[in-house]
């Protein structure tokens, strides 16, 4: 336990010191990692712990980003209230969307669950594309850069960190709690879980809603960092990102998704700077990593440790 505490302290210290050693460009990338780590982590709560493969998780990242953006444009609050509330609004709206979508989706399991999440996501994608009065349609919503110190990469990095660290802590506690224990059991055998007295669908639904809330937070944090939101964030291709991140890091491990997100984002930046065929290179690297390390980077590392 105490070694775990030491690790936590070390990682937190490194995260605080990190941006001071980075250029503005790389701080921007680090912010992206934070936002996507949260997104991947929330996704893996479903896949790695609950055994539920959501093909439509971009919906919640996107809904979070859009609701934060719309809140930013329309609420007219001063900057302190704005940036205190916007992420919470994003979480609430994403969770609400997930409450509806999840209500229907958890009625099916396996591939049918995945296809339902996929369908609902495409529905929301269409809304983002067509409801231009609210969402700006094709053009998305731009001009979301926060004013003042939050507009600076360093300032925004710490702002994002302030949201991410408590979120990771909460998710970690959730995974280790009786709720998380039940979720892990669900992954192994939902029928057996019914026969220990658990309302399985309700439990899956709750996990779905919680997961979407944190995905929405990731979306909001990323929206203010990149300064805009586009409908493509809700497109089905965007739903592949957290899948790849989680698998890359290792779905069995809680922190795997974070490592996967970091590796994915940094690789993407490095390769896309070199060649316009970066998706090809990225694809090859991912295939190789998955073939060589089926349990992911963290899984591989853990095995080597033993």
């Amino acid at each position: 336990m105490s070694s775990q505490r030491a690790w936590t302290l070390l990682v937190c210290t490194l995260l605080v010191l990190l941006p001071f050693g980075l250029s503005d460009f790389w701080i921007f990338i680090a912010i992206e990692v934070l936002a996507f780590a949260l997104y991947a982590l929330s996704f893996n709560l479903l896949l790695g712990f609950g055994g539920m493969l959501s093909f439509g998780h971009a919906a919640f990242f996107g809904v979070g980003a859009y609701s934060a953006a719309i809140f930013f444009k329309r609420s007219g609050l001063d900057v302190v209230w704005m940036f205190t509330l916007a992420p919470l609004v994003a979480m609430a709206v994403s969770a609400t969307a997930a409450a509806v979508i999840g209500y229907f989706s958890v009625r099916r399991s396996g591939i049918y669950f995945s296809m339902l999440t996929f369908a609902f996501q495409m529905l929301l994608y269409t809304v983002a594309l067509k409801a231009s009065g609210l969402t700006g349609g094709d053009d998305g919503i731009t001009g979301l850069k926060p004013p003042g110190v939050l507009g600076q990469p360093l300032g925004y990095y710490f702002y994002a960190l302030c949201w991410c660290l408590p979120s990771v802590y909460l998710l970690r506690r959730l995974v280790l709690s009786p709720f998380g224990l039940t979720l892990r059991a669900l992954k192994d055998d939902p029928l057996r879980v019914q026969y220990v007295g658990v309302h399985v669908r309700r439990h899956q639904w709750a996990a779905f809603v919680i997961s979407a809330g944190f995905a929405g937070l990731g979306g909001a944090l990323f929206a203010f960092s990149s300064g805009n939101v586009f409908p493509s964030w809700l497109n089905w291709t965007a739903s592949a990102t957290p899948v790849v991140m989680a698998v890359l890091g290792g779905v069995q491990s809680f922190y795997g998704a974070i490592v996967g997100a970091a590796v994915y984002v940094v690789l993407e930046v490095m390769i896309s700077g070199k060649t316009e065929y970066w998706p090809l290179a990225m694809g090859i690297i991912i295939v190789l990593l998955v073939l060589l390390m089926p349990t992911g980077l963290v899984g591989r590392f853990k095995r080597a440790e033993r």
Binding site: R173, P178, R192, Q194, Y195, I210
Partner: protein, 262 residues
């Protein structure tokens, strides 16, 4: 109907179930008294599994009523039946393979304690003593830290029993508790169940193929044949029934094991 004290812990009245053109169950009755060790037997296709699944809420009967512990429970979902005190195991063992043996039991204990909505407290330290006590009862305490996947088949069956017991059931329903075991293991296995059930005062209903197993522990037997109750009674009555012998017990093994365990 009423919730006044019923002499039965479980009572099925007129259960019928049809699958397309197949009448799987037809007007099946069964009564289980507290403390009974009640076997459901019958040839393949007799409707044992269908009946079993109807009793445990996995399958909805077309007709009939099920009363458990003095209340009508037909139509209730599995998790509701479990909360009322009905535990079950499966013919093909169902445990949580990715978790440790102790965690398997902790899942059930934490559900029984209604803690599954607790998303804050660490679960690892909860119900450890009670979990180990249950594992001790089924002879798995030494394996508590192992991943369930690595257990031998018989040990998985015992683990599933421990999971079922963790919900403190009044009635335990075991679907083919000795399925997939070697002949030698079976008797020991059912005797363990019998012993644990008696220690804890749990009534038991089980389906079983192996007549040696049935006659070793059953205090009462319901014989199903082609979806109907062919006979009900104490083991010796059932064994003596000409009708039962004709359709089912004609096999020499039944006679050879006569009276075992009584």
């Amino acid at each position: 109907m009423s919730t006044t004290a019923s002499p039965f812990v479980l009572e099925a009245r007129g259960i019928s179930k049809r699958f397309g053109g197949l009448q799987a169950l037809q007007n099946v009755d069964m009564q289980v008294k507290p403390g009974e060790f009640h076997a459901i037997i019958g040839p393949n296709g007799a409707g044992k599994s269908t009946f079993f699944n109807a009793l445990t809420g996995l399958l909805k009967a077309d007709e009939g009523e099920i009363h458990f512990d003095g209340r009508k429970v037909s139509g209730l979902a599995p998790h509701q039946l479990t909360r009322l005190g009905m535990g079950r195991t499966f013919q093909i063992t169902r445990v949580f393979h990715g978790m440790t043996v102790l965690e398997n039991v902790q899942v059930a204990l934490s559900a029984h304690a209604r803690q599954t909505w607790n998303g804050w407290t660490a679960a690892g330290g909860q119900h450890v003593a009670r979990g180990l006590e249950l594992l001790e009862r089924v002879g798995l305490a030494a394996q508590a830290g192992r991943t369930a996947r690595t257990l031998a088949h018989g040990d998985k069956k015992r683990l599933e029993l421990a999971i079922a017991l963790a919900s403190q059931p009044k009635l335990l329903l075991l679907d083919e508790p000795t399925a997939g075991m070697a002949a030698k293991e079976r008797l020991a296995s059912i005797q363990l169940v019998h012993q644990v059930a008696q220690q804890l005062g749990v009534s038991c209903v089980f389906t079983e193929h192996d007549m040696a197993v049935v006659f070793a522990v059953a205090s009462r037997i319901t014989v199903l044949h082609q979806g109907k109750v062919l006979a009900v009674g104490q083991p010796q009555e059932v064994r003596a029934s000409a009708l039962v012998q004709q359709v089912y017990l004609g096999e020499p093994v039944a006679a050879g094991q006569a009276g075992a365990g009584h």
